[in-house]
């Protein structure tokens, strides 16, 4: 650690109550540790104090400060409120938004120690992750998101006024159903700017001028009106098929949509795209924030800036956050991203600073590189959950959590323990765990493969089935109905096995009666 123990300057605060001065002092102290000692790089911070009800509000509109209106948000609010009122569930201590300035919400009920924790966790941990992780850099526009949402909200409100609630709601319902299939998973070509475009155009013109040959004029042309029938592959190419971004395809190609309906699809698509990196980095994001707050709180305590009582309060809530119940525990509900993320970050730091013989064998580059913070910062910047686990999950971690893999084959009467935490199992457990974080694997692979343009304009989708797990039938039917509403004609979904190309199941929904709007 490159830290220099600074001179104790006395406690930053005392007791449970918070006020703005204390928050300011604490923020400055944390800022010092985070930037100077840990080398974090963050967006400017904006901390907003809110009430429990506002927190519920924020929950229901997927954490964004502004959102267009839709009944599903009301539904989530009703459910969350009920859970909260009945005490089934506490509220999160904070919500943080990937924007610039980075907005963190803190609740008025929190004690001063909790506010300190939240500032360290959200305003520095998450904030650093948002600003430095590759995925966020590539996919999201932190500066523009709030403005965009403002636009979206106003636009949809305007549509509701002009075309009626029901019409807008129908489009939004359909778009929401397709949200998960509304992202570009690979960066598409960058939009060219005007100057580059003009330059390209000039160059092409120049090339044509240079290679002009008058003889081409004499080559006989096919008689007009005798178009050769287009081949299937040509047609697909023209429509940009196959296309896995269903919302994008419908927005651009659905024949019967009005322009405002296309714009709404686009808005939902953008929102979905904005959250795509967050879905892929839950483990890392929480791991990063938890690691940062743990480090900062410890440093505050070491330098005598917070009292022992505050430290104990912090440790109490920290340990409950990183608690991982075991698989046979009543409370088990999957792997806790805070727990695994935090443990892995600490493990990376340990490997970099105090590697064992085993670590040197498994991580020759990382082991003993010296600076633990440098190592985790590198990980934060360059990985997503899947690749992070694949790269960094050490045998030590597998043993510590006693991870094991179970195979559930519907055709067998029992579950099979395949790999456990031993020499033979490490690589496989790691691979399987990484796959649990791979969105490309988790979400069904659904693509639009063809449109019968010559016939009845039937839209054909394909689900490539892996491991024989089909789609949930009721939901698939419902979503297809939504697609049919947007597309305006018949829609068919074929589930084919990814390995044998055999058709496993077909769903079809007839064209909606009447017009789309």
């Amino acid at each position: 650690m490159s830290a220099v123990i600074s001179k104790p300057e006395g406690l930053l605060y005392d007791g449970a109550d918070w006020d703005y001065d204390k928050i300011k002092r604490v923020y400055d102290a944390i800022d010092h540790i985070a930037i100077k000692e840990m080398g974090l790089n963050v967006y400017p911070n904006q901390i907003e104090v809110i009430t429990a009800e506002q927190m519920l509000d924020a929950y229901s509109s997927i954490g964004m400060p502004l959102m267009y209106k839709h009944w599903s948000f009301g539904k989530h609010f009703a459910r969350d409120e009920m859970m909260y009122r009945k005490g089934f569930r506490g509220l999160a201590y904070e919500i943080v938004i990937n924007s610039s300035p980075c907005i963190s919400y803190i609740m008025e009920e929190n004690t001063m120690t909790m506010q300190t924790l939240v500032i360290a966790h959200a305003a520095f941990g998450h904030n650093h992750f948002f600003k430095n992780n590759q995925l966020f850099l590539q996919w999201t526009d932190a500066e523009g998101i709030l403005d965009y949402l403002e636009f979206a909200k106003a636009y949809i409100a305007q549509c509701e006024e002009r075309y009626g609630y029901a019409a807008v709601e129908r489009v939004l319902d359909a778009a929401h159903a397709l949200m998960n299939q509304g992202v570009h998973k690979y960066p598409k070509k960058r939009a060219l700017d005007l100057r580059l475009e003009q330059k390209r155009e000039r160059e092409r013109q120049q090339y044509q001028d240079e290679t002009f040959n008058d003889l081409w004029r004499t080559v006989p042309k096919p008689a007009p009106g005798q178009k050769p029938p287009r081949s299937v592959s040509e047609r697909k190419k023209l429509l940009g098929l196959p296309e896995e971004n269903l919302l994008y395809f419908l927005e651009k190609k659905a024949p019967r949509l009005e322009h405002w309906q296309r714009e709404i699809l686009r808005i939902v698509r953008h929102v979905s795209q904005y959250f795509y990196p967050q879905k892929q980095t839950k483990l890392m994001n929480e791991g990063c924030a938890t690691f940062v707050h743990y480090h900062i709180m410890n440093r505050l305590h070491q330098t005598g800036r917070i009292s022992d009582g505050a430290m104990l309060e912090f440790l109490h809530s920290h340990t409950s956050v990183v608690f991982q119940p075991e698989f046979d525990d009543q409370r088990f509900s999957g792997i806790n991203p805070y727990a695994l993320g935090f443990a892995m970050m600490q493990d990376i730091s340990r490997i970099a600073e105090n590697p064992t013989e085993e670590d040197r064998y498994w991580f020759p580059d990382l082991a003993g590189s010296g600076d633990g913070l440098e190592a985790v910062r590198h990980a934060w910047a360059n990985y997503r959950d899947e690749s992070f686990v694949l790269q960094y999950l050490s045998p030590h971690m597998i043993r510590k959590h006693k991870l094991f893999s179970v195979r559930d084959d519907a055709e067998d009467p029992y579950l099979l323990v395949e790999h456990i935490h031993n020499e033979r199992g490490y690589r496989n457990v790691r691979k399987l765990l990484a796959r649990q974080y791979d969105l490309g694997y988790l979400e069904p692979d659904i693509q639009i493969v063809d449109v019968d343009l010559a016939g009845d304009r039937k839209l054909i989708l394909q689900h490539r089935v892996t491991n024989g797990v089909l789609l949930d039938e009721n939901d698939a039917k419902a979503v297809l109905r939504h697609i049919a509403n947007l597309w305006g004609y018949e829609v068919q979904l074929v589930e084919v096995s990814a390995t044998s190309e055999a058709v496993l199941k077909e769903h079809a929904v007839a064209a909606p009666s009447g017009s789309v709007a």
């Binding site: 703005y20 923020y27 800022d31 911070n45 904006q46 907003e48 104090v49 009430t51 506002q54 509000d57 229901s60 599903s72 948000f73 009301g74 539904k75 609010f77 009703a78 459910r79 409120e81 009920m82 919400y105 008025e108 609630y165 709601e169 319902d173 159903a177 397709l178 998960n180 991982q324 075991e326 698989f327 088990f332 509900s333 792997i335 959590h401 991870l403 893999s405 195979r407 559930d408 519907a410 029992y414 579950l415 099979l416 323990v417 456990i420 199992g425 457990v429 649990q436 979400e443 659904i446 689900h463 089935v465 491991n467 797990v469 089909l470 789609l471 949930d472 039938e473 939901d475 419902a478």
Partner: protein, 431 residues
């Protein structure tokens, strides 16, 4: 680098619009849930909010996701204690998504969706279900507000209510009208006189000035600065308050011929009456009297849910009501409302006695007596033919324009309201 903003005072209820959209979306199910709930809850609880459970049918958010069963899946889970490779584990009971992060998409596997309706929303839907006109809904829902209101000014009152502005304005205009010299004018006069005396002005002129000053003094003494006729007080008017308590008698025939449907209709009617009275009176007592061939005061639970066999003698219920009123609810202190629900049966020999009781005792002491005759939903044919029941015929003889007696036949929920319209019409006429 850091901004801190206090958002706590921002407008609340940002999600209200979303909630309305949600309720509109789930309308059918919510109405059904409210209908069930109001059937179950006590009359006096009708005002509270309600936790309703609706099926997720209409408010499901479908998405493409893999089904919870079939195929081959791998899970990695923590906490291995005893397993080695190749061990087999008995398949747990339909645990679905519990084992990994596949399976149920968002932890919302259950079919039912529960949430809480606020009091306003519950009432809204309850009243809407009865198909009340908006105006009436407004009336029933309006919350009570009693206050003393300002009503102009008066010339008498307590000093605490003195209106200074009005008083001084009157005083000023009176002083101007009567040409009372201003203090400044008098001082000026005195100064001029003193100067003239000092200069040794001629006597005649001095004398003139002295007289002038003397007149000023006299005038300002005769015309007071504030005269009792200037004084104004704020006047307050107390809005006449109704007698703040009412008692509501629910009379019902519980003999075997009353079906569940009929009882439900009766209950709806009682609820609505209760709601209505609750708006007008600070406290509303409810007395439940059920009768077969004999009547008894009972609690609500027994009233609606226990069955009793026996004949039907209506007058016993009226007598019981008379007894309760005499014992506990003197007419001078209570507004008495009564609602009777029956399927119209009565022992023939009892008709004359019932009519007499009703005409001479019961109706005169009531603000309003509503008789609703509930009928099974399907036997429209009979009623449409105009076959009048025993009790209906009997009560009809009592009915006259000056008696506050309303009679209605009710077959379905939506017919409950017209009985109320009578009630409101009376209110208006009386006001």
């Amino acid at each position: 680098m850091m901004n801190i903003i206090d958002r706590r005072l921002n407008p609340q209820g940002k999600s209200l619009a979303n909630r309305q959209r949600f309720l509109r979306r789930a309308k059918e199910q919510v109405v059904k849930a409210v209908r069930d709930a109001s059937g179950k809850r006590g009359i006096q609880d009708i005002e509270n909010g309600e936790k309703v459970t609706i099926s997720t049918g209409g408010v499901r958010e479908p998405s493409f996701h893999r089904s919870g069963s079939g195929g081959v899946r791998d899970y990695v889970v923590p906490g291995n204690k005893e397993y080695v490779e190749g061990d087999t584990i008995a398949r747990p009971e339909q645990q679905g998504g519990g084992r990994g992060n596949e399976g149920s998409a968002d932890g919302e596997g259950e079919d039912d969706f529960r949430f809480v309706l606020s009091r306003e929303e519950f009432l809204d839907i309850f009243l809407e279900d009865l198909e009340l006109p908006d105006l009436v809904k407004q009336k029933v829902k309006q919350s009570e507000s009693y206050s003393v209101t300002r009503a102009g000014y008066s010339v008498t009152g307590s000093p605490a209510n003195l209106n200074l502005v009005r008083t001084m304005r009157n005083s000023l205009s009176r002083r101007i009208a009567l040409k009372r010299p201003k203090p400044a004018e008098m001082e000026e006069m005195e100064r001029l006189l003193a100067e003239a005396e000092a200069r040794g002005e001629d006597l005649e002129r001095l004398q003139e000035m002295r007289e002038q000053l003397e007149r000023f003094h006299m005038r300002s003494k005769r015309i007071p600065f504030i005269d009792p006729i200037d004084v104004r007080y704020n006047r307050f008017e107390t809005v006449p308050k109704p007698i703040a308590q009412a008692v509501m008698f629910c009379l019902m025939d519980v003999s075997g011929s009353m079906t569940e449907h009929m009882k439900d209709l009766a209950k709806r009617f009682f609820m609505l009456l209760y709601l209505f009275l609750k708006r007008r009176y600070r406290s509303v007592d409810i007395v439940f009297i059920r009768h077969t061939h004999e009547a008894k005061e009972v609690d609500e639970e027994t009233f609606f849910y226990s069955t009793e066999t026996g004949g039907t003698v209506v007058s016993t219920a009226l007598e019981e009501m008379q007894r309760v009123v005499q014992e506990r609810y003197p007419e001078s202190e209570w507004n008495i409302y009564a609602a009777q629900a029956s399927d119209g049966d009565n022992m023939s020999s009892d008709n004359a006695r019932s009519a007499a009781l009703l005409r001479d005792v019961i109706v005169p002491m009531c603000q309003y007596f509503a008789y609703i005759e509930v009928a099974a939903e399907h036997n429209m044919g009979l009623s449409a033919l105009g076959r009048e029941t025993e009790l209906w015929r009997t009560y009809k003889t009592v009915q006259s324009p000056e008696l506050p007696l309303a009679m209605r036949r009710v077959r379905s929920r939506r017919e409950i309201f017209p009985v109320f319209r009578d009630l409101f019409a009376r209110e208006k006429a009386g006001a």
